[in-house]
Symmetry: C2
Subunit: 103 residues, 2 copies
DNA sequence: TTGATGTATAAACATCTGTTCATATATTGC
DNA sequence: GCAATATATGAACAGATGTTTATACATCAA
């Protein structure tokens, strides 16, 4: 893997590496969600949600579509959705181990 | 997905979301690597590599094993290796699209 | 047009993070 | 023991990041 490829892939991971953003993306796994729905789902302020959504759509991790007063977000058809689904299936497997802590 | 699960998964993504750390992990995909090898491979300072390795092993993304004067790092047998391999296989697919930029 | 609702943006700020520099801790060979 | 090599740690700091507050923009109904 070249440094450029690493930076590109890391950028995706970095965006998913924030709990609120990860929740926003996973909420959209089952279909389009309006900003209001997303705001209620993750329990953050509307402004914060909007800021995070901006980053996610800039990186094309989410797509935006307006319908009347609402704006809906969903995942474009890409491997990120598949990867996330796979990760979530295996999320409990490593819970048996004690969480690692920095000395 | 619960907020706790999101935080846990996000923590893994966050660690992989830094180019140097991602390179360190991918370098170890094909087998154990010494700190010296890793340092040369990613072209960073020894100190920086060591700092990053500390974070990665604290999160159990990498395992540490000393052999004489050298310390070798490798991936524990977990789904992270599989995920990374899958992601790297598909890394070029989304390159056709223009990179998203914040206005 | 006005008000109401939904969403986005800008500024400001405290905290977090990556990095460097210096130094400490192993481990081996002499 | 000492020197040399390999790795880890601590302090310090600039820059990035997540969040809040306030405000702007968009859409629809009356």
């Amino acid at each position: 893997m070249t440094p450029d490829q690493a930076s590109e892939l890391a950028e995706t991971f970095r965006l998913l590496g924030e709990p609120n953003r990860l929740l926003l993306v996973t909420e959209c796994l089952d279909g389009p969600r309006s900003v209001t729905e997303l705001t209620e789902a993750i329990g953050a302020s509307q402004s914060l949600v909007s800021h995070h959504l901006r980053l996610l759509r800039a990186a094309r991790l989410l797509r935006q579509r307006r319908d009347g007063k609402n704006v809906f977000y969903d995942l474009p058809d890409c491997h990120v959705a598949t990867m996330l689904t796979n990760m979530m299936e295996h999320i409990d497997e490593s819970d048996n181990e004690t969480e690692g802590l920095i000395k």
